[in-house]
């Protein structure tokens, strides 16, 4: 039964697998190949293994080392003549594997129960914060209590630290003076420093991680948007579904996609701004996830309205900086932003337009940092080695500020800074811009 389901999924990939000519040009871009230089860690090898599983020459269980190690960063596609849809192939191959070898219960609980329910997610994060404040995490790690669950132990070590508050709460408590909107969404009014509204109305998509892990970044994004003259609404949303997709839970991803369509489609806003390249890319590619399904058209319409913060600011014209930032600054390209959305110039232009900034381009700025969502938990060795590579490159720039935007990158590079880049501060783009655009940033 399970075998049939998995074979069905694999069989549906045939034409997409055939697009790979095995030319090997992907080797020039693939970060895991750069680290390991073995064939099953590069795009064409991954494609080949899925073909082998489809052909029955390799058991599905054997292709794990190939398909589970893909960062889904799409860096290979910069070099691929045929633009092999590698992330589609990998997520569907993972889906096939899930038929025979389900995820552990905790992962299933997070994906299926927490992420679709913002309330539960916030409650869980609060629990986590309480546990941290009681020192439970440190105690459990020190006592080796999690040794039996290496992924969990890894999560406790390098995963998110919950501040115990949420983006919505921070924004409500801030100078942004939110008001409850009739539709139940919180709507912050324009902040005091906005001189004149240009009449734009945008929805700011508070992503799961922004909400419970880095709420200050969300508040900063709202402030920046307000400074740019936007009226900001804050719809109450569940997860976009990207984690389900990357782990091979396509049904779960589709269910969340439908929720997004329900909640966002009717929203009367000029744009839906997402300050996380991963969620932004996922929303913009919802039509692919829903291809051939009744919702495809609605997904297309929604995708057209979604945009990332940097692109949106560049499109409407960024506000004038009111404070200089006298620092050497460098930028890390989140993979989804660079390789999915093809956004590379906008954040650099925004950073460089701030007076006082000396912008230093880093080597390998667009190489994945190894955060890559759950990758940092499930592939600790590769993740750490990528981080080392990135830290070496960033340290060589002599920058004091490392700016990026996706939460995985912020967490991963933040760890990198703590462990091996003394003197380097890792900052979200929104928080960086907040420093420049907002005359007075209130202390938390």
């Amino acid at each position: 039964m399970a075998a049939t389901a998995s074979q069905e999924i694999l069989a549906s990939l045939g034409p997409a697998l055939d697009t790979c000519n095995k030319c090997g040009f992907c080797m020039a871009g693939c970060p895991t190949y750069r680290l390991t230089q073995v064939e099953w860690m590069v795009t064409r090898g991954r494609v080949s293994m899925v073909q082998d599983a489809l052909a029955g020459t390799l058991p599905l269980a054997d292709i794990g080392p190939a398909v589970d190690t893909c960062l889904l960063c799409r860096a290979c596609l910069d070099h691929c003549p045929s633009k092999v849809p590698i992330d589609l192939l990998m997520t569907r191959a993972r889906a096939a594997r899930r038929q025979e070898q389900p995820l552990p219960w905790l992962a299933r609980f997070v994906l299926r129960q927490l992420l679709p329910r913002p309330g539960w997610l916030r409650a869980a994060a609060r629990l986590g914060a309480v546990a941290d404040s009681l020192g439970l995490r440190r105690w459990a790690l020190a006592r080796g209590l999690l040794r039996r669950w290496p992924t969990l132990e890894r999560a406790a070590r390098v995963g998110p630290v919950f501040p115990g508050t949420t983006a919505r709460a921070l924004i409500a408590a801030s100078d942004l003076a939110p008001t409850a909107a009739p539709d139940g969404t919180a709507r912050p009014g324009p902040g005091p420093e906005v001189r004149k509204s240009r009449g734009r109305r945008v929805a700011y998509f508070i992503t799961c991680t922004r909400d419970v892990v880095m709420p200050a970044a969300a508040r900063a994004a709202v402030r920046v948007l307000a400074a740019a003259g936007c009226q900001v609404v804050l719809p109450n949303l569940p997860c976009c579904g990207l984690p389900c997709q990357t782990t091979g839970d396509i049904a779960g991803a589709r269910a969340l996609a439908r929720r997004q369509l329900d909640l966002l489609s009717g929203l009367d806003v000029d744009a839906i701004v997402i300050d996380d390249g991963s969620c932004a890319a996922h929303l913009k590619e919802l039509p692919d996830l829903l291809r051939g399904l009744p919702e495809e058209g609605a997904a297309r319409a929604l995708a057209a309205r979604c945009t990332d913060l940097a692109s949106y600011l560049m499109a409407i014209g960024p506000p004038a900086a009111v404070r200089p930032i006298p620092a050497r600054v460098t930028w890390h390209d989140p993979c989804h932003l660079k390789h999915y959305l093809k956004v590379a110039a906008a954040p650099r232009q925004l950073i460089q337009s701030v007076p006082g900034v000396t912008f230093v381009e880093s080597a390998d700025a667009d190489v994945c940092c190894g955060g890559a969502g759950s990758f940092m938990l499930t592939q600790p060795d590769l993740s750490d080695r990528l981080l080392d590579l990135k830290c070496t490159a960033f340290a060589a720039t002599g920058a004091e500020l490392l700016v990026t935007s996706s939460p995985s990158c912020l967490m991963q590079l933040g760890r990198g800074a703590r462990e091996q880049m003394p003197g380097m501060q890792v900052l979200s783009l929104a928080e960086f811009l907040e420093r420049a655009y907002v005359s007075q940033v209130h202390a938390d």
């Binding site: 055939d18 095995k22 040009f25 080797m27 020039a28 064939e39 082998d52 054997d62 045929s82």
Partner: protein
């Protein structure tokens, strides 16, 4: 069949490279089951050796267990070269990818085989240098792979293919011995085994290290895009550009159907009705480029170009290249996969070949698009296909076979740069005669007697062919009657040995056409006679003659042109034709063979000797200027090696092996030359050496005397002999090119060497070069010897002191491109010849070498016994192709 791997074999591998570096899990092995060809064959094991010693242990393990092995770089080849078709061990070089050394002044780098082409380029760029071969896969393909496939790329017309840039190799032989072939010097006395290894697809030895020649990065580019309404017009434009004495760095053609695909992908730069588009790029000194660009544009318009766009900035240059570079992506829109063919024809036949391809496509109802390296006559007809449809594959195979037939009909090669692998095996029998295939098989069997090195590749019939020596017995008997013999008395005064030979030839053969030569040699070989070969007799080798019975084959009767093809920049001459006559014949067509060897010497002699010549500095060794040879096998069968095409990787490059082999592998009957348009102008400058030596000669890439001059020869004569030269040492420089450019370059040289004066009548300078040996011989008396000296180029400017010190007490003369670390020295062998050994010693002390090229009987340099007892690859190959020293046994 080969045995399967055993636990014992895997244990041996683990002991060799460490267990961490051996793969044996099915999923790991399946990851090495494919290359860019698309087929899959599971290997038995994969090992990642870390150095040559580990490779050697792996090779010995394979040998011991009878398991085949396949060396693998990035696995990007398009012919199946890295597919383990018989299973076995895949040796992958990810742990050997260092650039070990970069010698900026000497223009060479030492590289491990796993280093990617791009990584090498990146390491070199800060020094203003590059490794000229840049195949399309360069971002990922490795040096080892480039060498194994003798990779090309878009720049071969001007810069040559990979083997042109490989000086020496470290190899692990099939028996596990680690040897070096070639040299890190610009010249060496051995057979050109590294030239043979290039393009041998891992079937002869495993490359573990390469010394490659570096090239200055171009200091500027000028790029044009010319669009034509028919493909013939574009072909005529290509020929006209070359006829105008312009050798572009790249001339890339996309044909009408490809333009169609590009237009569908949104490339509006190609107008309606375009049937061919050429990207033409010249590189060089920025001041020279605008004029060349304008000239090319005018030529294209003259030949009916619908549109000519010229780039005037780097951004515009990228724009003009964009269409060509986007072809693969545009093809990908047509179908998931595409079949890429790789054939080469003489350049002038390219439009005809493209028409033939389109006609084949129409006949079979298949959409074929073609891109071509037009300057090389190398084209890639490409067929989109769906791998899921087997009947389509069958059709493609038929189309493929038709394309191969068409290219062979036009005198081409079945593969220009992708290699034979398994893909082109069927075509090999179409391209080569059984004799030629057997000859290649003998090379393979000699170097890989057990057939374990990448079996199933490159040659169609593994089991066929002759064993070494099968057809060669040494029975002596009467010489057959009716052979063409020399006129009476012709052999009384000259022989291939010393003036007074140890024994006279049994018979002297002086054929006047190749058929007669083949018949005569076949007859004496049937009788078991060894054959001594001479050309014009001008390059008398004063070495001991053959001691046993031998026939003397004089090739000075084989005189004349077979074919001169100006549009292909190639010409074929009979090998006895004097070089002067060759140049005179070429001059009538505005052509020139850059090897300006002494005019009286025979073409075959120059090629067989790998002779040094004045233009060696600018034009490289003789091997760069020979495309094909007709030779005789040890049984006197005629055989053509190579093709009159700029690129050809079908089978082993046996042309290289014969060049510089001094006839030891057999006589050359015809020589097909690679030509250049005759230079518009030549300027010769001369100055006294002390001035040159102290002028602070810059070695900055691109700006040194070495880069500015085509010939840069140091001429010296020991003080005791100074005669009409006016000084004991001089530097003579020759610049070739267009008048305007020459003026600037002369000024550049004079700014480096203020004393350099232009010789208004340059003839004496170069006839002096040519007459040098005669003078030397006359001055030095009956015991003269000639030695070739080579030291690392970075130490070349120290050669004068080296010679003066070593030859303090004897008269001597010398000549050579000291910038390349080369000199040819004449002296005598009197007084015990201790000075010869001293010279060799001094050269060796500086990382160089010196060897006797011509000497009286009994004079030899002391041989340092090598620690390695086995035969060298050169000896092995000679024994296989010329068993029992049957050709030129005295050498």
């Amino acid at each position: 069949m080969f045995p399967t791997a055993t636990a014992e074999f895997l244990a041996d591998l683990a002991a060799a490279v460490g267990a961490d570096h051996v793969l044996d899990q099915p999923y790991q092995l399946m990851a090495y089951a494919y290359d860019a060809t698309g087929e899959k064959y599971m290997p038995t094991a994969v090992a990642f050796p870390g150095n040559a010693a580990e490779v050697a242990v792996c090779v010995r393990a394979c040998h011991r267990h009878g398991i085949p092995l396949v060396p693998r770089g990035a696995g990007t080849n398009l012919s199946g070269g890295t597919l383990p078709v018989h299973g076995g061990l895949v040796l992958q070089f990810r742990r050997m990818q260092q650039v070990l050394a970069i010698d900026v002044a000497g223009r060479r780098a030492v590289v491990e085989p796993g280093c990617t082409n791009l990584a090498l380029q990146q390491a070199l760029a800060p020094y203003g240098l590059c490794f000229a071969p840049d195949p399309a896969s360069q971002k990922v393909s490795t040096l080892g792979g480039n060498i194994a496939e003798n990779s090309g790329g878009p720049h071969c017309l001007k810069y040559g293919v990979t083997s042109s840039h490989v000086l020496g190799l470290e190899l692990v032989l099939a028996d596990g011995r680690v040897v070096t072939v070639g040299s890190d010097l610009e010249d060496h006395p051995d057979h050109d085994v590294s030239g043979l290894i290039c393009g041998s697809e891992g079937t002869l030895a495993v490359v573990t290290q390469a010394t490659v020649r570096l090239t200055p990065l171009p200091r500027g580019y000028a790029t044009l895009l010319a669009v034509f309404g028919d493909v013939d017009a574009s072909g005529r434009a290509v020929s006209a550009v070359i006829a105008a004495r312009i050798i572009p760095a790249a001339m890339e053609l996309v044909d009408g159907p490809t333009i169609g695909v590009l237009r569908e992908s949104g490339f509006t730069v190609y107008p309606e009705g375009a049937q061919a588009a050429l990207v033409i790029e010249v590189d060089g000194d920025p001041p020279d480029l605008p004029a060349e660009q304008a000239h090319i544009a005018a030529i294209c318009r003259e030949h009916g170009a619908l549109q000519v766009l010229a780039a005037s900035s780097e951004a515009e240059r990228s724009q003009l290249w964009l269409g060509r570079r986007s072809v693969a992506g545009a093809y990908a829109r047509l179908s998931p996969s595409f079949w890429v063919q790789d054939v080469t024809v003489p350049r002038d036949r390219l439009p005809e070949m493209i028409r033939a391809v389109n006609e084949i496509g129409a006949r079979f109802g298949v959409r074929i698009t073609t891109v071509a390296h037009a300057g090389d006559g190398n084209l890639h007809p490409t067929i989109p296909f769906f791998p899921s449809e087997p009947e389509q594959m069958a059709l493609i195979r038929q189309v493929d076979a038709e394309i191969i037939r068409a290219c062979l009909r036009l005198g081409g090669s079945i593969t220009g740069e992708h290699g034979v692998g398994i893909d082109k095996l069927p075509g090999m029998a179409q391209m080569f005669t059984p004799t030629e295939l057997t000859y290649m098989q003998r090379v393979r069997r000699a170097l890989d007697p057990d057939g374990l090195l990448n079996p199933g590749k490159l040659l169609p019939d593994e089991q066929g062919g002759l064993g070494p020596g099968d057809d060669c017995t040494l029975a002596t008997g009467p010489v057959a009657n009716g052979l063409p013999t020399a006129p009476a008395g012709a052999d009384s005064d000259v022989s291939p040995g010393i003036g007074r030979p140890p024994c006279p030839p049994v018979v002297t053969l002086r054929p006047t056409d190749p058929d007669a030569a083949a018949a005569a040699v076949a007859a004496v070989r049937r009788d078991g006679l060894a054959v001594a070969i001479s050309g014009s007799g001008s390059h008398r080798s004063w070495r001991p003659g053959p001691a046993a019975d031998y026939a003397w084959l004089r090739l000075d009767g084989l005189v004349g042109a077979v074919e001169i093809n100006p549009d292909n920049l190639s010409a074929t001459f009979l090998s006895g034709t004097p070089v002067g006559a060759v140049q005179a014949a070429l001059a009538q067509h505005g052509l020139w063979w850059p090897v300006d060897a002494p005019p009286q010497r025979s073409l075959g002699g120059v090629v067989a000797a790998g002779a040094r010549y004045p233009g060696r500095t600018g034009y490289g060794p003789v091997r760069e200027w020979v495309l094909a040879l007709e030779v005789l096998t040890d049984s006197g069968e005629r055989m053509v090696l190579g093709r009159p095409t700029m690129k050809n990787v079908a089978g082993y490059d046996l042309v290289k092996l014969h060049i510089g082999a001094r006839g030891t592998l057999g006589p050359l009957l015809t020589v097909t030359l690679r030509l250049l348009p005759a230079p518009e102008q030549q300027v010769t400058l001369a100055l006294d050496w002390p001035s040159a030596a102290t002028a602070g000669l810059t070695l900055t890439p691109g700006q040194s005397v070495r880069d500015l001059a085509a010939a840069a020869e140091w001429l010296a004569i020991s003080p005791a002999q100074v005669d009409g030269l006016g000084a004991s040492q001089r530097l003579v420089l020759r610049l070739d090119g267009r008048a305007a450019a020459l003026e600037r370059r002369v000024a550049a040289i004079q700014s480096i060497l203020p004393d350099a004066r232009i010789l208004t009548d340059a003839t004496p300078a170069w006839s002096e070069w040519h007459a040098w040996r005669e003078q030397a011989v006359a001055a030095l008396g009956p015991h003269w010897v000639r030695m070739r000296v080579a030291v690392p180029p970075a130490r070349g400017l120290a050669l004068p002191q080296l010679l003066a010190a070593a030859l303090r007490s004897v008269p001597w003369q010398a000549i050579g491109p000291v910038w390349l670390g080369l000199a040819t020295v004449w002296t005598h062998s009197a007084d015990g010849a201790a000075h010869l050994a001293a010279l060799a010693q001094q050269a060796a002390a500086r990382g160089g070498t010196a060897w006797l090229e011509a000497a009286p009987a009994g004079v030899a340099l002391p041989v340092t016994p090598s620690a390695d007892s086995g035969p060298t690859p050169a000896q092995t190959v000679r024994a296989a192709l010329a068993p029992n020293l049957c050709y030129n046994p005295h050498l």
